[in-house]
Assembly symmetry: C2
Homo-oligomer: 137 residues x 2
Amino acid sequence: MENHRSNCPVNLMLEVFGDKWSLIIVRDIMFEGKRYFRELLNSEEKIASNILTDRLAMLEREGIISKADDPGHKQKNIYSLTAKGIDLLPIIVEIGGWSIKHKPVNMKKHKHAVDLVRGGKELQNEIRKELIKKHLK
Amino acid sequence: MENHRSNCPVNLMLEVFGDKWSLIIVRDIMFEGKRYFRELLNSEEKIASNILTDRLAMLEREGIISKADDPGHKQKNIYSLTAKGIDLLPIIVEIGGWSIKHKPVNMKKHKHAVDLVRGGKELQNEIRKELIKKHLK
DNA sequence: ATGACTAATTGCAAAATGCAACCACTTTTT
DNA sequence: AAAAAGTGGTTGCATTTTGCAATTAGTCAT
């Protein structure tokens, strides 16, 4: 049995994503199509490589992502979302909606986010299906 | 102009809530009806008083909560959610849904969370109205 | 075989967090 | 009126996390 601060839903989520980077990584895999360490390292927010290493291991441990060898490149790892990771989509969409309403979001640069928030549950379900196709199997 | 890591919606939200405590405080104000420093200090997760002081100031600076003198008690401050704070409700509900599905949530102790997730947009709107009544004006 | 690319690792400084004690003031109790 | 309990904090110090730059061992294309 693991040791939790509490078994409140909000707290349990925070124990995994209560930092400045973990959800950024999920965002990049989910919306930017990034699948490799080097790609993730080049996030807009410039994550450091040691933090990226640490968070990828944590997210794998938590069952949010999975890691596999790239077939064509022995040293390359390819990262995928698990079902648990894909289920973060509605949370991220709500976060997007809140930020667009209350924060200085760059609407041109992040038009896809605006579209996703405005697209409602239908668009969200399409994205979800595509993620399942790409990441699960 | 403030200095942001990026103007991505996910990042802007994380710059405020990317820690283990800020959303816990909002949760307690929103769902536990806590309005005073001492009440918030007694969270299930046992936040330290210096962290609470720091986060309350930050949340006020960010316009998520507001602080006012208690009429009947000269030394007491009463904390309220702003509209921006109340707008976090859908995010927290989605977080609740995710945790209930994927994490060892204590369903008995947090039955209200389960109800809220299952209650859909209708119940969520009722709660929203009550929050507006209690916190704004 | 060399030069670029891969996923990290290391070492060190800075910042955030955790913990316990303390504080000045206000309200309640006796 | 004095004592006790409650208020929103502050302070000091140890631990943990993060940020940054340099480095590394293995792999790949030429």
